[in-house]
Subunit: 390 residues, 2 copies
């Protein structure tokens, strides 16, 4: 059960009666506040207790069984049919919603910044005060994980390591053709083939994922390139895998960089430097430190070696050109930030540490672990070994 | 290239300067209007031409290459830094957006019903007229597919049939234990195991999916139950698979019902009846007919056999208790509806036909094909054979 004390404080300090979400459960704030997974939009009101409202009866029984809500109701419980008769089907919805809020004595609501306009306009027309919560209070609360959520991430990371192993095995088993491309099973080994192996392994472990990065050579020099085509010997190959457990919905995240055959001296040097940057980041990771402190620790290592960072040059296009990490949970990217704008870290924050170096002429190197901030430091969930040459 | 003539008509008839979307491309209206796939929210303005606006430079180059937009711009192109200085980072966004609209002479915009409230409030504060488009005009336009979109669905259906074959093969190869459960590879064959086989096969064919239905016995009697646990002989097993091609983003959809060993007379009778209902629906499927006509054809067959439908009894909990079908495209459920509220069908509508019968004491039967409405009838994409006993 999440701790909504911070939400109570927010409502009290802004003199607002309740917090309202209208979304399906792919919206992580909705899933977190309602404790309910449904593919179609529904409404959650928090006023110290949690109340759900569904358009139809379809999800009603399941919501009563599975959600943590105090009450579960349907449009039909607020005279929906009569209101359609009187106002038409479009306007009836806002009348139903206004009656729902009224039944809990709620005249004013805070809503997430991306709350649907039609619903807000309808409620305002019924005299309800609707204010976008630009602080994203629920998203803030989600940053601090309960013990149960921490176990979910740890379990997803176990599956993640199995898929990384499957990918590494494929690279290890490949042979190098005369033209330098990797060959496996009589075919050119491509980024796509390695991704397929990763995804199949994750499926076998109850996880899914939309995207994986298997990027080689110049592809790897762009941190957002997913990678495609034949893999080549002697060049660093970045594998960044971020699956979601299909049951718990929590993510994991890990990156390793491999090289088939002998890397250049620069690649080897960058790899060692990135290992050191990762160590420096973990040395700085503790409650009370800020995400900015951890990011600075990485920049210090790279800059001392004479490499550009966005801190030393905000227009840098090579070197360390992204932030050090991010929170991981129901969303793959969530709070806290380990970046120049990173705030104070707290026990229960689950974060990635992922320093890296990029240059189109050299390729890309990134090493990423996932860890939780504890009372006296951190615990790293990542057990996968680090080695460059496979 | 989609045909936006209907959008032009809408803007003209409502005397609105432009259509505005603020969403990431998991919102199918955004993906369709922008022609661009991006994981973070961006803004699309349609005013006869298409204009994209991105917060940062990250997606700028790719958007210029990959989207079909006439112009691609960034916050920085509208004095973002100065506006942050002057108004703070929160308010600066609405000033940037207002300047973006102003640069195209746009004072009034229609927006999708679920357009984000914060963006709408910000624009209204800058004097822009923002009206939710309760007709969902883009969603309406998406119902009619281009030849290219039709080929995307057809290709996804090919992958879908490969995964259905893998699942059927598993059921065929299973043996029946003394307690009636299916056994495969020395283990009880479960719904979860069959789903895994389906999903792995789809991955190997470039498709992904969030959910699959493999539901046996009483599970199958609830059309929304995904199914779980051991599969049993002598009971109908519903397999409903609806993958998405990872490259094109278009879906397919198909259901078959299998029985391992001998089904009861009632199950056999229901299966034959459902085959006949499906044929009746296809006989009614042509341009000019309505979705309601097609739905009625199915109800006629079931009611003539003395079985309840929601048409004959709107509180029915057994019999034919859902609609006949739905549109399929970027979303797995989209327009048109093949239901009591189904409007006129047009060439290019891609729809499912999926009659079924349900009763907790008997189980569930459903057979579903996917087809496109053509100038003179329809073309069924589904080549997978129909047979009950495996």
């Amino acid at each position: 059960m999440p701790d909504f004390a911070r939400l109570d404080d927010f409502l009290e300090s802004t003199d607002t009666d309740g917090y309202l979400i209208d979304a399906d459960s792919t919206d992580s704030d909705q899933y977190y506040l309602s404790g309910f997974d449904a593919p179609d939009p529904f409404v959650t009101l928090y006023d110290g207790e949690t109340h759900l409202l569904f358009p139809r009866s379809l999800e009603f029984g399941r919501a009563k069984r599975e959600s943590r809500a105090t009450t579960v109701e349907r449009y039909v419980d607020f005279d929906h049919a009569e209101l359609v008769e009187e106002h038409g089907s479009e306007a009836a919805v806002s009348h139903v919603l206004a009656r729902f809020l009224e039944s809990y004595g709620v005249d004013s609501v805070a809503v997430p910044p991306r709350f649907p306009l039609r619903t807000a306009d309808g409620l305002r027309a019924r005299g309800v005060d609707v204010t976008p919560d630009t602080d994203g209070t629920i998203t803030e609360i989600r940053a601090t994980k309960t013990d149960e959520e921490i176990e979910h991430v740890r379990a997803a990371q176990k599956a993640n390591e199995a898929s990384m192993q499957a990918a590494e095995d494929l690279l290890s088993a490949a042979r190098v053709a005369d033209d330098g491309t990797l060959q496996y099973d009589g075919e050119v080994l491509t980024s796509e083939r390695v991704k397929e192996e990763i995804e199949v392994t994750l499926l076998r472990h109850g996880c899914s994922l939309d995207e994986t990065i298997v990027a080689c050579g110049a592809d790897a020099a762009d941190p957002h390139d997913r990678g495609s085509g034949p893999l080549t010997a002697g060049e660093p190959i970045i594998l960044d895998i971020f699956p979601r457990d299909k049951t718990t919905k929590y993510h994991a995240d890990m990156t390793r960089t491999f090289c088939k055959g002998e890397p250049s001296d620069t690649v080897r040097e960058w790899y060692d430097l990135t290992e050191r940057a990762k160590t420096a980041a973990f040395d700085a990771l503790e409650p009370g430190a800020t995400g900015a402190d951890v990011h600075d620790a990485v920049c210090d290592v790279y800059e001392a070696a004479g490499l550009p960072t966005l801190r030393s040059d905000d227009r840098a296009e090579t070197g360390f050109i992204h932030s050090t990490g991010h929170g991981v949970g129901l969303d793959i990217h969530e709070l806290p930030r380990l970046s120049p704008s990173g705030d104070e870290l707290e026990p229960g924050h689950v974060v990635t540490i992922e320093p890296g170096l990029y240059d189109p002429d050299i390729g890309g190197i990134r090493i990423e672990d996932i860890a939780v901030v504890t009372e006296d430091g951190y615990e790293n969930f990542t057990e996968y070994e680090q080695r460059l040459v496979v």
